[in-house]
Amino acid sequence: MIRNRGIAFKLTFFILLSCTVIFAVAFGYSYVLSRQILMRNIEEIGQRLVAATVNKLEISLRSVEEVPGGLGSVLELPFLKGEAQVEQLLRTVVRNNPDIYGSAVAYEPFAFESKQRLFAPYCHWQKESVRCLQLSTDVYDYPNKGWYLLAKEKGKAVWTEPYFDEGGGDVVMATYAAPFYRGTGDDRVLMGVATADISLTQLSKVVSAIRVGRTGHAMLVSHNGILLNYPDEDFVLRKSIFTVADIRGGKAMHRIAQQMVDGKSGYASFVDPNTGEKNWIVYAALPSTDWSLAVLFPQDEVMADVTALNHHVMIMGVVGLVFLFIVIVLIARSITRPLCLLAAKTKDVAEGKLDFDLESVSRTDEVGLLSRSFVTMSSQLKRYIEEMTKVAAARERIKSELAIARRIQMSLIPKAFPPFPDRPEIDVYAVLQPARDVGGDFYDYFFLDERCLCFFIGDVSGKGIPAALFMAITKTLIKTLARESSDIAELLGRVNHELCHGNDSCLFVTIFCGVLDVKTGELTYTNGGHLFPLLIRKGCEAEFVSGGRSMALGVEEAAVFAVDSLQLSPHDTLYLFTDGVTEAMDEAGNFFTEDRLRKDLSQCRHYSLPELVLRTLKKIHLFARNTKQFDDIAMLALRSFGAEGRGPQTEMVGDEIVLSNEDEELQRLADAVQAFGATHAFSERMIHDVNLSLEEIVSNVIRYGYEDTGAHQIRVRFALRDHELSITVIDDAMAFNPLEAPEPDVDASLEERKIGGLGIFFVRRLMDVLEYRRDGGKNVLTMRKVVG
């Protein structure tokens, strides 16, 4: 299809087609017109030629006709006496008339001399001289010859049919015979016949001189149709025009022949049945003799010039079209080549290759214009991309700085549990669930000496990097100054003093800090503007710890911190938390509240610490379901067992499975979860949740984690103790922190719904605690969930 071809093809095709049509029409018109003109000219020339020839022949014939009349009128007078005088007269007449071949005077029997029966002297040209002879021989009985009888009978001058005059002129001739008389009126008596001959050979010379084209010729026909002149000598006098018609022209020629014999003039064409050639014939009558002259010529020959001309025009046309074709192709290519190049470059640009050269830029035509616009577009695009890259890099830098700050902050928080496995007097468990941005919650615990455990939980006001740094400083200060301070009030006082120095950003931190003598259960504590913790005495409801509330740290350099104390009995639990817990919000905007926390803890007081903390976390999640977590959530629980200790410790059980990065490994993982769950009597729901979480994490790693296609290992560790299941996934994929993944919009409609992030969302929902760190080029993701 033409529609699918290139511009070059279309241009060439349509221009050539149009030119060919125009040329063909012009050529055809010129051919037809030139033919018509030529035909008209030929007709005219033919007719003129015939008329001129007829005229010429007529002059000859007329001059012949004058002779017998003249002779007769002389012979009618009674002057001439004797044979010699008559012969002399004849000789003179013949010599004076070069057009006639010969002349005779033939007397009626006994008309010349009464005793002489016949007398007919005849003089004719023989070569250059005139010869005279007597026709009254025994052989040549003139009174019975056609010419004599015809004139005598008609009583007037007549032309005879051409004949061979044997014994007379001995040539083919036509004779004009005129009778002459003696006396006048009714008394006149026929004396004889005077004649003048014209040699057909002579007439033929005139007729034969006519040539049209190569084979066109003239022919002379008597009024009976006998050929008097024809290119083929054998036809002369022997064949008629009708014979010629039979041979050369068929019916059409027959009609023409009839017209000629009838003495008509005309112009007609006929087709030679032998050759298929078209012939033209122009004919006219000779009035004096009733003969007819025809000029006959083949059309092809007279058309030869026109045909040759047309051939030349045709060749020139074809050569012209070929030339035009080459020119169009060159022009079209000069247009399309840069366009194709441009198209290729566009593709390059689309692929991000923005540096290139275009030759066509220097052109001054539309292609050059397009090329220049294209180059401008590309350079603008390049500049734009560069700017965008810069902006994106800047944004990325800030983002990664935040992430680093976050990671540093989180790394400062101890997360290994149990922290003191060799201290039977105490159990400690804690979680810190950060909000999306860098928050400021923190906790820590450490032994000051053999007996005294120092612990604290805190919350820095504000967010972002300054808050993280402030938290780091606070934590470091406490840890450093704790051993140098005599009591807890002095510790917080010194920390406050240091924090107030150079605190240009006006940050502050609330801290609940305590020191527990693990042997005796004696607890001293001070509260720097923080929430009071809950105390769950063995077998009792949870109650808030009371005491003096001092000022937050970093506000007032001279602040004084009150110290309170209480006695912990074995199996008493102290539960510290930040305001992220009590101010967790549900969809209706209700807070979780301290009272709800107190009641929940009261119900779960017999649980192990991990179970207690993780269940509480889960309750907060369920409460705040579908709402964004605004603040960090930190909880720290201590259970004191006193000098007698907690008794034998629960064994930790574990398992590990190593997967390769292939989809099919997921089934193996599912089987491992099923087996581990069955062994440790997990509920079906628990197995389902672990299964789903692991599939989401591991499939994410397999699908998006690797930039290469090589084989990688993904390690999944299960650890179970005190109803706390801890699953750690370790992989060497590219760094990805699921905690920083964007939350999906679970309320969007079908059309707007995006699927991304849903997997991680499930994991956060199903697991109680998620912790991520990048360690030695590996992603280490720990998921904790209470079993029950």
């Binding site: 997921l666 599912a670 389902h688 599939e695 499939s699 309320d747 969007a748 409609s749 079908l750 699927i755």
Partner: protein, 110 residues
């Protein structure tokens, strides 16, 4: 995954576990069942105990495409875990759903 023609409806029998691996097969099977415009595809979950986000992705894409073509994707026979996963992803309002296949067939043949 098996797709059965029942009346004007195409019924897809969702396997016991619709995870990342089986989702690929399900996606191909559903794409095939979707040929042409209009029509109804009923996904029968009565054998399914487990669905992950990969499975949800396939269902979401299929539902979007069916809606575009003027057809519909209907789900039935949810077991509790599947129901909970749909619920927590906020997917329940997005789909037309029946308790059992029979109920779906009756409702849809009206």
């Amino acid at each position: 995954m098996e797709i059965q023609s029942e009346g004007k409806m195409q019924v897809a029998i969702i396997p016991a576990r619709l995870d990342m691996v089986t989702s690929k097969e399900a996606e191909a099977a559903l794409a095939q069942a979707m040929e042409g415009d209009g029509g109804t595809i009923l996904c029968d979950f009565s054998a399914c105990d487990y669905i992950s986000s990969s499975g949800l992705r396939v269902l979401l894409a299929t539902a979007k495409e069916m809606k575009r073509r003027g057809g519909r994707l209907v789900l039935c026979g949810f077991k509790p875990y599947v129901h909970d996963v749909f619920d927590s992803a906020g997917f329940l309002p997005l789909f037309e759903r029946f308790d059992s296949k029979e109920e779906a067939m009756t409702a849809l043949s009206d």
